[in-house]
Symmetry: C2
């Protein structure tokens, strides 16, 4: 059994071609992908609607998470953290290149505590750094 298959099993999801293909995309590319990125790459192998539903399912099962983006398009990235180890890691740091528009996860960076005004409770933090990546320099 392939590792992509066991990922689905671990999350109590049925093994289907579309789900396997989408997981493989995330693992191969290791950048944040939008619905339309997937639609293009999978080149009409699966219905647009199926891709929407797969992304929604993956989100609910915490296989992927949303990545903030200023373009309007919702992007997603695979949650690579081992489930147990980082189950409560709700802090994400991403870098988006303004030229190639690729967004990558900066895994190793942790955010400092942000002093919030009184009465505010933090649940999650997302930092998006924008600039030029090493490939486009």
């Amino acid at each position: 059994m392939s590792s992509t298959q066991s990922i689905l099993q671990a999350h109590h999801l049925r093994i289907t071609d579309c789900r396997l293909a989408i997981i493989r995309e995330f693992l191969d590319k290791s950048v944040a992908l939008s619905h339309s990125d997937l639609e293009e790459t999978l080149n009409k192998e699966f219905d647009r609607v199926t891709i929407y539903r797969t992304l929604k399912t993956f989100l609910e099962k915490d296989l992927i998470h949303k990545v903030l983006d200023d373009s309007g398009a919702t992007k997603y990235a695979f949650c690579t953290h081992g489930e147990e180890a980082h189950a409560h890691n709700h802090e994400h740091v991403h870098f988006k290149c303004e030229k190639c528009e690729e967004t990558i996860c900066l895994e190793d960076i942790s955010l400092p505590a942000i002093p919030l005004p009184k009465g505010f409770v933090k649940k999650e933090m997302n930092l998006l750094v924008q600039g030029i990546c090493e490939k486009c320099h």
Copy 2:
């Protein structure tokens, strides 16, 4: 001449009712607003398309900036920083309440330097903190 009018003049924009109304909204509410927020509040006083175009113009002239949001809707906030003083302030910290969905600017917080991988150049940073605000607690 009102202050909203002089804001437009300072950015070399013609003074029109729609532009004045949208600026007033941002100044009054002091939270990040989406196109549909404005459409509702301005209650059909202006065409949907005109609001889109006004937001686009304001973005280009740096009167407003995009605020990251995980809902898919693009939100905008007024650039309150005095232009000269903070012209190069490309760091934004926002807090979004998961209950009331309001997003506010945390003006006074500055972000630490993020150690980027070699070859990466930072242009802008956006931090979105999500949780519960003091009103919804």
